[in-house]
């Protein structure tokens, strides 16, 4: 695997995860255990389009990872940004993805985890950040707190609609991939969300989420 100049080649590196748009590789960077998130060219996309998207998302993600900390939400420490190879080098967050944890959590643990998830999402929103990719694969339970990763689709926005789209994806993921516990998890998520932004705002966002679902094809939302 070739890494462009500026990103130190690591003697020990292994593929952690092949995501949709990036390879996530564990290696080391200047003596630190580090994750290399490499947005490889996607050959199905036209080169000019692909390069613009990869470059934009890489730079943008670096900014948003930093901003999330200002919002009071844990995100990895960023070590380096290499625009040429669309690579971010960052802290390796030890822990389990929420996606992999869900099945093994008890009812109360699940409620606790999703309350925390909802609370942190609300912190991002209150700060004017839409994460843009809130699947359960992008939240890591590390020791006692949740760490949000993958800010590639994040947007600075305070619009109700955008915040509702964020919650919609969580709901979509829960119903799609964790259908057995989704109702329980969504309730806890909503409570956690409201605990930060307040009942009124929370209700407004959920109402907007319903509006979005109503716009969906053939939807009958009651």
């Amino acid at each position: 695997m070739s890494i462009s100049p500026g990103v130190t080649e690591s003697p020990r590196r292994r593929l952690l995860y092949r995501g949709a748009e990036a390879d996530v590789i564990l290696g080391d960077w200047q003596g630190l255990e580090a994750v290399f998130k490499i947005r490889k060219p996607l050959t199905y996309r036209l080169q000019v389009l692909d390069e613009a998207i990869r470059r934009q998302r890489t730079v943008h993600e670096a900014e948003m990872i930093h901003l999330a900390k200002n919002a009071g939400v844990a995100s990895p420490f960023l070590y380096n940004v290499d625009i040429e190879s669309s690579t971010l080098v960052m802290q390796f967050v030890r822990g389990d993805r929420l996606k992999d944890l869900v099945a093994s959590l008890s009812g109360s643990q699940l409620a606790g985890a999703f309350f925390e998830f909802g609370r942190d999402v609300a912190k991002l929103h209150r700060f004017g950040i839409m994460h843009g990719d809130l699947t359960t694969a992008n939240v890591v339970k590390s020791e006692e707190r949740l760490v949000f990763v993958d800010f590639g689709l994040s947007v600075r926005t305070a619009r109700l609609e955008d915040h509702a789209v964020d919650l919609r994806l969580i709901k979509e993921t829960l119903v799609g991939a964790h259908s057995d516990v989704s109702a329980h998890a969504i309730d806890s998520l909503n409570s956690g969300y409201a605990s930060v932004v307040g009942q009124a705002r929370s209700r407004a966002v959920l109402k907007q989420l319903q509006n979005i679902e109503r716009r969906g094809r053939y939807a009958r939302v009651t």
């Binding site: 092949r18 995501g19 949709a20 748009e21 996607l42 050959t43 199905y44 996309r45 036209l46 000019v48 389009l49 692909d50 998207i53 996606k99 843009g132 990719d133 809130l134 699947t135 694969a137 689709l153 789209v165 964020d166 919609r168 994806l169 979509e172 993921t173 119903v175 799609g176 991939a177 259908s179 057995d180 979005i212 716009r215 969906g216 094809r217 053939y218 939807a219 009958r220």
Partner: protein, 330 residues
């Protein structure tokens, strides 16, 4: 003993009837397709008039070609929804008539589930991530917990609508996908268009507006066709890739009318390779709307005891496929 079912599709522009056997053979699949005037889309009432006029012959031909006597049919399946009201009602009337005269069960089928189940049968796909792309749908799905679950979808227009509305703006008649694909093949001049992926979902409305404006501004139909295809298909491929990576499944199946587009399937194959996954294609003849999708899914439902009394056999213009229980899958 082998048994037979007749399926009736009548949700939009296509009225189609198919006889299938219980072991999944398509014995006939006849159709009549309503064609709107140049520059127009489907007028629901006009389409229903086409179906009404065509129904007797399409039904008779399907039965004749199949070689199955009327007395050999075990059930009648019909597309109960989703779709255009006037069109759905034609199919429902024909289905009720057949079921009551033959005194066999009437089986309601969700049209979108029909696309998926027929696709799985013909492509030999067991547990795929499904990309359903047509005039009515743009959804990425996977089976879990007794239902086909939506992992991503368009937040506004479907891919078929995007292409049709763009084509109609240029004066074509729906469906415009093939003309756009042909026009795009003669261009390699990419014009920058909005690329809108929101999580697992896509949005096409801005892309449509921008594409129309490019046409109005004097850009050639082939350049804009090329650009709209490259942009929209890349968006859909990206969210399908996300679903594939997220679920860890090893197959992608493309169904629906837009599955016929070679550039889209090419992008999907390219993407799937990166994940050591395969792309399962439905034969083009059966990827768009057809009676066979209703017959086969009707058979699966019938074998699980699903039926509807004739007096309760309504049509449902809005009927999301993730609301349909799928008892025949594990």
């Amino acid at each position: 003993m082998r048994r037979y079912i007749v399926g009736i599709e009548s949700t939009a522009h296509t009225f189609s009837v198919s006889v299938m056997s219980s072991d999944g053979r398509i014995l006939s699949n006849t159709k009549s397709v309503y064609k709107p005037p140049e520059g127009s889309g489907i007028h629901p009432f006009e389409a229903s008039q086409n179906h009404l006029a065509a129904a007797p012959k399409v039904v008779a031909d399907a039965l004749d070609i199949s070689g199955v006597p009327m007395s050999g049919l075990s059930a009648v399946a019909y597309a109960m929804g989703p779709g255009l009201g006037p069109c759905l009602r034609v199919g429902a009337v024909v289905a009720r008539t057949l079921a009551s005269s033959l005194e066999v069960p009437l089986v309601p089928v969700n049209h979108a589930v029909g696309h998926i189940e027929l696709g799985c049968l013909l492509a030999g796909s067991k547990d795929p991530v499904v990309l359903l792309v047509s005039g009515g749908h743009t959804m990425i799905l996977a089976y879990s917990g007794k239902r086909w679950r939506v992992l991503g979808e368009s937040l506004d227009l479907t891919l078929g609508q995007l292409l049709d509305q763009f084509g109609r703006h240029h004066g074509l008649a729906s469906p415009c996908g093939m003309a756009i694909e042909e026009a795009a093949a003669s261009s390699s001049n990419y014009l920058r268009l909005p690329y809108s992926v929101k999580g697992n979902d896509v949005s096409f409305s801005g892309l449509l507006t921008a594409s129309k404006l490019l046409l109005d501004g004097g850009r050639s139909f082939s350049d804009v066709s090329y650009s709209i295809q490259e942009t929209a298909f890349a968006m859909v491929t990206e969210v399908t890739e996300r679903a594939l990576a997220f679920t860890g499944k090893k197959a992608v199946m493309i169904v629906g009318g837009v599955a016929a587009n070679g550039r889209l399937s090419g992008m999907m194959s390219d993407m799937a390779r990166r994940h050591s996954a395969v792309v399962n294609m439905t034969p083009i003849e059966y990827s768009g709307d057809c009676g066979a999708q209703i017959a086969w899914t009707g058979w699966l439902a019938h074998s699980c005891g699903i039926r509807v009394p004739i007096q309760e056999s309504r049509v449902m213009q809005s009927w999301r496929l993730d609301r349909v229980d799928i008892p025949w899958r594990n």
